[in-house]
């Protein structure tokens, strides 16, 4: 009985009592509903089309080889200070990532001054956020008309890759002419060096110069510390002792948001340095050390996991954004915040005088501080630039003593603080930041960012640190994974080196 009943989709033979909409299916002409023969022909056409496109693509060099090592490296034969005034009419194209408040203002001012000083030179500026610049820069500078001046991120994935492809001009001659060599401490200059063969980083030719300094420090909320009856710590021991006391008073000891993955690298770097790993880490980042299978690395991971377990950092740290955490800290949630100097202008704006800042306090009172840090992105000159001398003059201008004062006035930390930095009122948070920077440079206390170590270090470390915080990756596992990534990369570099010889 039931079997004879029309079950839905089949055509209904009865005359409908009222007009029905046509039963034709609206998607009858969808690509997957044709009859067998037509489909076969269509498939054939598709295969032909794809094949044709593939052939066409194969003819086009998808891999522009014009940037091979040594192909376009001009020796920059300059021997005396170039004078942009004599360069005639020129337009300097500049791509940078200084889009944040103070940094943008500082650069706009300097650009205007440069144009005023050399009236026939025009600066065409393209400013993009850090990640936008990172994703477009590669295509821009490998083209035929690249910008003259760019900001390149240090490390293997950007600067070293650009040098390997011969896209940047070595600046060693200019460094001599403009006395950058004596102006900058060598630890800072070295971060912008790449070896001639384009394999090593931190040594070799100079490919850029940085305008700003930056380091990871400890921000503290004076009001919260006062409420918890804790004084700003003078040693690392005082800081760690304060954490349980702050917690007992019902306040959050350390504000921390790691949804964006990278913040933990900074916190971890600080802990690693405090555990005594600074020297070894510095060597290993530049590929000269033994790696990361060592006590301080494991201890740092253990500390981070303990902080989470004991509730010194928020329970949902892995699920809170970096900016959200900073906002919460500014709103009074948390006694400490461990992050970079770049946060200072924004935090100061909301917190005012209750904000304090210091480099991570040393193990012994008044000893030299050590922390993760370095400098802003390097300003580099592309090898296809038509005005390399003007570009060099521009680089010198935006890193000069005068430029440093402009930066200080706009609340930015210059790599080399100038006169204006000394005029900052004593005890203010800006003064604390500048003092810390000068101390770190004087005592050689800067350890480069861990993610410079290998091209995929950022990826693996940031992912694994989320695991450490979560408790699913043990300190031993973390350290052995870091070690494996390190040795794999060093082996690969050595193998490449042998193949070249």
């Amino acid at each position: 009985m039931r079997a004879e009943r029309p079950t839905g989709a089949g055509p209904v033979r009865r005359v409908p009592p009222r007009p029905q909409p046509p039963r034709q299916h609206p998607f009858r002409h969808s690509p997957f509903s044709g009859a067998g023969r037509i489909r076969r022909r269509r498939t054939a056409a598709l295969v032909l089309a794809v094949g044709g496109a593939l052939l066409a693509a194969a003819c086009v060099p998808g891999t522009d080889g014009s940037g091979a090592v040594g192909a376009g490296v001009p020796g920059s034969a300059a021997t005396s200070k170039p004078d942009p005034a004599k360069a005639g009419k020129a337009t300097l194209t500049v791509w940078d990532q200084e889009v944040r408040g103070g940094q943008n203002d500082e650069l706009e001012r300097l650009n205007a001054e440069f144009e005023k000083k050399y009236p026939h030179i025009r600066i065409k500026r393209t400013a993009r956020s850090f990640s936008d610049l990172k994703t477009t820069l590669k295509l821009a500078i490998s083209g035929n008309k690249p910008p003259d001046v760019i900001q390149a991120n240090q490390g293997y994935s950007d600067m070293v890759a650009f040098v390997k492809a011969g896209l940047l001009t070595p600046l060693d001659n200019y460094a001599g002419i403009y006395a950058w060599n004596t102006r900058y401490p060598s630890t800072l200059l070295n971060l912008n060096r790449v070896s001639v063969d384009g394999r090593d980083f931190g040594t070799g030719r100079l490919y850029g110069i940085s305008q700003t300094g930056e380091y990871i420090g400890v921000y503290y909320n004076k009001d919260v510390l006062e409420k918890a009856d804790v004084k700003p710590p003078k040693t690392w021991g005082e800081l760690t002792d304060a954490l349980p006391r702050i917690k007992d008073k019902g306040e959050l000891p350390v504000q921390f948001g790691n949804l964006d993955k990278y913040p933990a690298i900074h916190t971890f770097g600080v802990l690693q340095n405090q555990a005594g790993g600074a020297q070894e880490t510095r060597e290993s980042v530049f590929g000269r050390g033994k790696g990361f299978d060592n006590g301080p690395t494991k201890e740092a991971a253990r500390t981070l996991a303990d902080w989470k377990k004991n509730g010194y950092v928020p329970k949902g740290a892995n699920g809170t954004g970096y900016d959200d955490a900073a906002k919460k800290f500014a709103g009074g949630e948390g006694a400490f915040l461990i992050t970079g100097t770049w946060q200072l202008p924004d935090l100061k704006k909301t917190m005012g005088d209750s904000l304090g800042f210091m480099p991570p306090p040393p193990a012994k009172k008044d000893a030299a501080p050590v922390t993760t840090g370095g400098q802003g992105l390097a300003w580099s000159v592309t090898s296809k630039s038509r005005h390399p001398e003007v570009a060099a003059a521009y680089l010198d201008f935006i890193t000069s003593r005068h430029a440093a004062d402009v930066m200080t006035e706009e609340g930015v930390l210059p790599a080399l603080p100038g006169k204006a930095a000394r005029d900052i009122p004593e005890g203010s948070v800006d003064a604390q930041m500048v003092e810390g920077w000068e101390r770190l440079n004087a005592d050689d206390g800067l350890v480069p960012y861990l993610d410079y170590t290998t091209p995929d270090f950022y990826d693996s470390l940031s992912a694994d640190l989320q695991g450490v915080i979560d408790g699913s990756v043990s300190p031993d596992e973390l350290s052995s994974k870091m070690q494996r990534s390190y040795t794999d990369f060093q082996d690969k570099k050595r193998a490449e080196g042998k193949a070249k010889q």
């Binding site: 839905g8 044709g52 891999t63 329970k315 959200d324 992912a463």
Partner: protein
């Protein structure tokens, strides 16, 4: 005039003629330049080792072999398949349920509800991502609600939890795609002749029986379309992951589309990224063709 008419009479009206291709040509040219050519280029790149800058070297099938053997490349595909449950299966099931329920009762202001259901489809994924990121945050709306009803022990940082991040992202997908399915099915149900229901009721079918005997078979074509659209949306999911988790915690939510971007632009592995893109294309193709064959039931 008569001449031309005579010539055309020999052909049945509507029969395909070569001149048809002339009309398709402009579209085909665009399609070729912007789709087929890049596709071919991607396939070509996937056969190379290339960092995006220096001279590429021939890789042959290396990148594809890695796709099958390297867990960090295989993982994203597994996540994507798991996400399909949330992006395709669940929305279609929910859509069928809601649509048949809505069509059984006369609902006042139906247009309003349809609009509300469809709204997530219209919103930019970035907006959806940012909103849900705040809802699912440790102090977000979801946890606050759980605490308010005394279920505070269930509260967690949903996007930062290794076990829950993938389902959490999946739930956002369910929310987005369900509306599309409901609207599609509502339109389909309206075309089902009422007498089929009457007949079913006369035979004593209850609401459940009615659903399986009348509604579901009649919505076969719509189901296929809904599945195709949601599967494609689920597999090429990039923006939501980018905004909410960035593939984390660890690599718990990395998906192929995100990994393509990540490798091509951030870690300078263009060949590997291209291979992944091709793999994704093949997967989408295979799944949509299977849907067309199995669900829509053509070509049997």
């Amino acid at each position: 005039m008569r001449h031309a008419a005579g010539r055309y009479r020999r052909r049945a009206p509507g029969q395909p003629r070569a001149v048809g291709y002339l009309y398709v040509l402009p579209a085909l040219a665009l399609y070729g330049v912007f789709l087929l050519f890049p596709l071919g280029q991607t396939v070509w790149l996937s056969l190379l080792h290339w960092d995006g800058l220096t001279v590429a070297t021939w890789a042959g099938t290396d990148n594809y072999q890695a796709l099958l053997t390297d867990p960090s490349l295989r993982g994203p595909f597994l996540h994507a398949l798991a996400l399909l449950f949330f992006y395709a299966a669940l929305p279609v099931a929910l859509g069928l349920l809601l649509a048949s329920a809505l069509s059984r009762f006369r609902v006042r202001g139906m247009t309003f509800f349809r609009t509300v259901f469809f709204l997530p489809q219209v919103l930019a994924m970035v907006v959806v991502g940012v909103t849900w990121r705040s809802i699912l945050g440790p102090d977000g709306l979801l946890n606050d609600s759980l605490r308010a009803v005394g279920l505070g022990s269930l509260a967690r940082s949903w996007l930062g939890d290794y076990t829950w991040a993938l389902p959490a992202v999946g739930t956002i997908g369910t929310w987005v795609e369900t509306g599309l399915c409901v609207v599609l099915f509502l339109a389909g149900i309206q075309r089902i002749p009422r007498e089929l229901y009457e007949a079913a009721r006369m035979d004593g079918a209850g609401p459940l029986r009615e659903f399986f005997a009348v509604t579901l078979p009649a919505l076969r074509a719509e189901t296929a379309v809904a599945l195709t659209l949601t599967i494609v949306a689920g597999l090429r999911n990039f923006d939501l992951i980018y905004i909410t988790t960035g593939g984390g915690p660890g690599n718990a939510t990395s998906v192929p589309a995100y990994e393509v971007y990540h490798r091509a632009f951030e870690t300078n592995e263009v060949g590997s990224a291209a291979a992944m893109g091709v793999g994704l294309t093949v997967l989408i193709f295979v799944l949509t063709v299977s849907v067309a064959r199995l669900v829509e039931g053509r070509n049997r």
